[in-house]
Amino acid sequence: MKVRYFAWMKRTVGVAEEQLSPPADIATVGDLVKWLRTRSPGHAEALAEGAAFGAAVDQRTATFDVKLAGAREVAFFPPFTGG
């Protein structure tokens, strides 16, 4: 799946997007977050416990309990500040 990062998270992680194949036991958005934290210090910092960020699965806002089965694109981003 493609994992994307936006705004300051992109800079902290160090890449805007990456193509990843998480292990089979990564079932939810929350599982993915925990797994991503182990990839690099940048990932760990951007996706730290208690950091304010949201997620989307296939371009729809998703909570951490949302299942990843069949997902093509998962995104992580800080709270929105448009308008």
């Binding site: 705004a7 989307a56 371009q59 929105f80 500040t81 448009g82 308008g83």
Partner: protein
Amino acid sequence: MAVRVQEADFDVGAELDRLTAGNRKIGGLAVFVGLVREMHVREGYHKDRVDALTLEHYPGMTEKALEDIEAEANKRWPLEATLIVHRYGRMEPGERIVLVAVGSPHREAAFEACEFLVDWLKTKAPFWKLEDTPAGEKWVGATTGDDTAAARWDKKKA
């Protein structure tokens, strides 16, 4: 119903003319235009006046989110026309950043739905503001005021 995300500026008069053309059921048109304001003018240490801001967004998701918000407004109020135009990219103070226009037979629905759309798009559409200040670039944090404004529409109907 229409949603547009674009880098270019928009002409408010032309947009409103197009929106209402040929629809004689519209009795009231409520319009919100958001501008980039000169923010964070502080004395002393940083004097981090904002020279410009760059709006990043999530192409694909942004359009879906705005369409969802627009559909929700049309579910809640009897509307004849809705338009959201949101810009991205670099903008300087004074520039237009967003246009929300709502046409309805009566003004109450137009006013309410317009306010609803602005409140919701601020908290539910994937845009991020990066400020360009003399002290460097700074990501804008979300405000609890915006969350509170968006949440009052949850209580009303949901």
